[in-house]
Assembly symmetry: C2
Homo-oligomer: 356 residues x 2
């Protein structure tokens, strides 16, 4: 197959981890006789520095002409004092909105080789296998009006029925393809937007009799993600709750450096990126863990291009390098061999070679 991929390295460790993922994609292309046309573009701080715009037109047009987008990370202290429209994060919010990427999908699964790095007790972390589905283009982060004076500030949380319906459908379908359990998270005892959310989930569940649905409040969910994370299969929630809960969930298994994510719009096209941030403190030092970006590339192959075999080959290679005892510095513990970003990536490439 021939596919066009726009790579957005971004800021901080973004360039290093996307470089690693690109090497993996090139190896896959060779082995499986695909052509991946890779085109590079700017986003975030890098784009602000180059052309005073966190999401330049050029980037939008390259992304429009491609089959999927692979992103590294955006942001850093350098731009923290900038006015709103010149903040790296604006680039991320804008690209989501521009392409209508309403569904953020984040799998969190315990990796046996990494449980030692989990802050949770082994018996609690080891059964974790969930996917968080976060609504990504509505709610408090986008709605108007917003207003700020010296003495007063206002943000608005709006959801329309179609916005809720499509994300709830995404989650039901995903739950059906997994263990058939869906936790819908809201604050329906207080918020009107949550009441509408809960009503729509109740309506939709008629169409998915094979899925068991539970309504949970966001505050209790924040607890249960720590006390009983193994009980979750699929979680669906609105934008801001999803922002908080998915980050909370990302650290429970000790594998933040391994977590991929997809921001899609229901047709496979989407933006694939590691869950971790731009880690400015270790940027440019060949220390970053490239696994999350490599696994995001695997997720892209599976979801955007239906390349299941290729995706599985990447995942297998990554896990077997970990099982062999090779880690990057973020996962350092006694007795583990710590490699640089590029050396660790080479191990994955070797492993991919040996799979043939």
């Amino acid at each position: 197959m021939e596919k066009t991929i726009t790579v957005l390295p971004g800021d901080g460790i973004g360039p290093e981890v996307t470089e690693a993922a690109v090497k993996v994609l090139e190896t896959i292309a060779k082995r499986y006789n695909h052509t991946f046309k890779l085109q590079f573009a700017l986003i975030g701080g890098a784009a602000i520095d180059a052309c005073e715009n966190p999401l330049p037109e050029e980037t939008i047009s390259l992304c429009s002409d491609s089959d999927a987008i692979l992103l590294g990370a955006v942001g850093g202290p350098k731009w923290d004092q900038n006015p709103s429209h010149l903040r790296p994060e604006k680039g991320l919010l804008a690209i989501r909105k521009h392409f209508g990427l309403y569904a953020n999908i984040r799998p969190v699964k315990a990796i046996p080789a990494l449980l030692e790095s989990s802050p949770l007790k082994k018996e609690i972390a080891e059964n974790v296998d969930m996917v968080i589905v976060r609504e990504l283009t509505g709610g408090l982060y986008f709605a108007e009006p917003r207003k700020k004076t010296e003495d007063y500030a206002l943000d608005t949380l709006v959801y329309t029925r179609p916005e809720i319906e499509r994300i709830v459908d995404t989650a039901f379908q995903l739950a059906r393809s997994r263990r058939g359990k869906l936790a819908s998270v809201d604050k329906a005892n207080v918020l009107d937007s949550s009441k509408l959310w809960r009503e729509i989930v109740e309506e939709k569940k008629q169409g998915y009799p094979d899925v068991e649905v539970e309504h949970m409040l966001v505050d209790s969910t924040a607890m249960k993600l720590i006390t009983k994370p193994g009980a979750f299969d699929v979680i669906v929630t609105e934008n801001m709750f999803g922002d908080i809960l998915s980050d909370e969930a990302s650290v429970i298994t000790g594998s933040l450096g391994m977590l991929p994510s997809a921001s899609t719009r229901g047709d496979g096209f989407g933006l694939y990126e590691p869950v971790h941030g731009s880690a400015p403190d270790i940027a440019g030092q060949n220390k970053a863990n490239p696994a999350a970006c490599i696994l995001s590339a695997a997720m892209m192959l599976r979801e955007a291009f239906q390349m299941e075999t290729e995706a599985a080959a990447i995942e297998e290679a990554v896990f077997s390098v970990l099982n062999d005892g090779y880690f990057t510095g973020d996962l350092q513990t006694k007795g583990r061999r710590v490699l640089s970003t590029s050396d660790w990536t080479d191990k994955v490439l070797d492993e991919l070679d040996s799979e043939f």
Copy 2:
């Protein structure tokens, strides 16, 4: 001293745990020659059942005539399908608003005897000693307009300068009396209300040169509460972020059944209540852990009545019963002696007697 306390048992295990706290207060009154005039009133589901109003006028008037309020818990499945104005939670929101209880204070401290019950690894949980200061009467849970149709729903997040200033002052003062570290949590990279929040914290910090302030984003805070909870001293944040983060924090040390809270308005008067909920599944079975409610009574003595010695006596009694190896069912693990609510309370009363 003579003090009037309104006790609001509420729903579920509320009546059992307030009964335990009342016994403790009576013992303290005798020992220290105080007169605690206790008056009981309805709130939540119990009040809805009795008079179709989650916060009856009668309750408001008794609370107005008292020096502090002690609450058990509200809510339960029985009222979950009720219309908004007949929901137990409405009673809680209304009493906060009526009395202007804008500052919710929740200490979370590791208790050595309980670390075994923590979902976190011992070395991560054992240093936890933080207080979360949550703004309680503003933001998304109260602001107008709110609107809901079949196809659309809207909530509004508003903060005014005075609302932010007073809660930020509360937190700075608390930080100053502790380890001098304040984490202010917002989502200033996206929300206008958070930008105002951050500006005000920056202004206020000039007045507290002895306090070290860090601004954190709510999503990273949700992570750090799990990976490095021992790093926090005082956390201050707006209503909804505080709701989620304080519940998250409440489970990290394994001592949810032990956590007290205060909702105050700057003059000591306030509502003191356990952090845990109404636990309808074990209500009426003499199984609930009364410690959080007993410790809330201690917090009330300290904060509302300046009875430091009396508060400390209660806390000492509670911890020594735990150290002696007596627990309630929620903290059951191999080798621990499990007592009923009333038997465990008797141990605390015995301990208080023996302190003399």
